[in-house]
């Protein structure tokens, strides 16, 4: 019982630390990514400014529930504080991330809510319609990621499915799996950037915006811990993954190569091939 409580406490502390650090790390990524794009570059701390200006009182339950789902998922991420959380595994983490968007959809703001129904060139249509349309691709990618790591480790517990460097750094399947999951991270990162950067901070619900930012960081940490085939400690590996994300966002932005749906569609295909290649 004592071990369980300590374990859960460490997990929640990890989630809190990730929540506090998420706007800084993502701000750094978007700052670097904007170097290759036209227009003024945002400050490293611009996400803190956005969150500071966001609506905090009288929010719909969906936004809060969405953040709680991502927060619990963040407590399960392996490697960072060495949390071995004992109330869930990779399948649960994946479903919590998917449920986060669903709860926001079901209990979020209504048609008139600017946070829920953003239309415009930067977002490419109604936010909830886009979320519904992308759900199958995101879910397929995440479930294939579970299968890819679960098949290799013969377990779904997150501390067990982390990348073990036993002579399997750069094999065909590890590269395919890493590339597939990175496509998912890339799509999530770009989606978060589009949702937050082009908008007035006062129109954002606080918990909803924080959930978006934290979700990208959780995916980034998962990529670093579970798929990134470089023999580095957890912290530097996460930073290297963030740097890679910034560079790819900058290059694709510079040459206008980015098509979010295409990247999202590539993720399950590459992960599918990685399982076959194992």
């Amino acid at each position: 019982m004592k071990f369980l409580l300590i374990n859960i406490g460490v997990g929640l502390a990890q989630a809190l630390a990730l929540t506090l650090a998420a706007p800084l790390l993502l701000g750094l990524v978007y700052r670097l990514a904007s170097l290759g794009r036209p227009g003024p570059a945002p400050s490293v701390f611009f996400l803190y400014e956005k969150l500071g200006a966001a609506r905090f009182h009288g929010l719909p339950l969906g936004d809060t529930a969405s953040f709680v789902c991502v927060f619990l998922a963040a407590s399960m991420v392996p490697g960072f504080l060495g949390a071995k959380i004992t109330f869930g595994d990779f399948v649960l983490l994946v479903c919590l991330l998917l449920a986060s968007a669903f709860l926001s959809l079901l209990y979020g703001g209504g048609e008139g809510d600017p946070a829920a129904d953003t239309t415009g060139p930067s977002t490419g249509g109604s936010a909830w319609k886009r979320a519904c349309g992308e759900a199958p691709l995101v879910a397929a990618s995440l479930f294939l990621a579970v299968a890819s790591r679960g098949f290799h480790a013969m377990a779904t517990m997150l501390p067990d499915v982390t990348f073990l460097f036993r002579g399997t750094w750069f094999t065909g399947w590890t590269e395919l799996a890493a590339l597939g999951f990175f496509c998912l991270v890339l799509a999530a990162g770009e989606g978060c950037r589009r949702a937050l950067m082009g908008r007035d901070g006062t129109a954002l619900p606080f918990w909803g915006a924080l959930a978006k930012v934290l979700q990208v960081l959780v995916l980034l940490m998962l990529f670093a811990e579970l798929f990134f085939p470089l023999p580095l400690p957890s912290g530097p590996r996460a930073l290297a993954a963030a740097l890679l994300l910034a560079v790819v966002l900058a290059v694709t932005g510079r040459f206008r190569l980015f098509h979010r749906r295409a990247v999202l569609a590539a993720a399950p295909i590459l992960l599918f091939l990685s399982i076959l290649a194992q």
Binding site: F56, F87, G88, C95, L106, W128, K129, A131, M154, P268
Partner: protein, 306 residues
Amino acid sequence: MKRAFAAPILLLVGACLFFLTGWAFTLYGGLALTAAGLAESLLAATQGWRQALRVDGKRFRAALALQEAGYIVTAAGLGCILLQYRNGALPFICFSAAALFLAHLILSLVGLVLATSKGGHRLALLCAADVPLTLGFAALWQLAQGALSLPVAEAASWSKAVLAVFFAVLGLTYGLRLGACGLYYRNACRAVGGAVGTGGSGAGKADGFFGLDLLAPFRFGEALAPLFLFLLGLFPFVLVSQVETLLLNARLPFPTGDYVGLIWGGTGRYAIYSPLILAVLFFALLALLDGLSGRGPTKKEGGRDA
């Protein structure tokens, strides 16, 4: 419109007949059953999406039920494949997943019969979407564990292909289900011209049966099925006792550890799902954060705090 359901229904009937003949209890029979189940769930999921776009509540719920039936057939097919490998423990993970899905299907159908609204109730949709803490998720979790034990039993390359296809279809159908439930709810709200209720500490503008709050009381008939789905999701004893017993006693080639307390939280190393701890943490955090943001003045539209 009726033809739209013909393919999944025919697949379901064919799979049931095939199972009853006993031919499914071979390797190729199990593979055929798995393929039929996956195809059926995929067809039903796409139908669910179509019905969500049309805001046809009855057919939407029927498509969700057919998708559940597809999962049952898939789980039975995987169980039949695993039966061939003389490891009595492994198939039971899949067969108990099928049993849980069956319980979920029956409760969903009971809910459909008792429902007085058109199935647009948020809590009913929440339970139908197999999100964590519900019975549907417990069944899905166990089905995933059963599928992951396939390469343990069979090291041949075809098992990887089956695993890859299974997880691709499972993810796709799960995403389609979540997306369709959200789409149906939003479209239904738009169709009746009502705003979506804010719930929680928000303005609380509940209108009709669509704007009901998460914790607000609602009609008994509608409440019954979601309540049971939620309670069975919190205490899935069939699932817990079986998985614990299997992992402790069945000499599975997984890294063994302490699996005691799957429901209360333990130090398991293969897989763990402790719905009770998750529920306590989820609702405690939700209450805390909702209370935190609920106090204080509400903002004017698009403006700063008053």
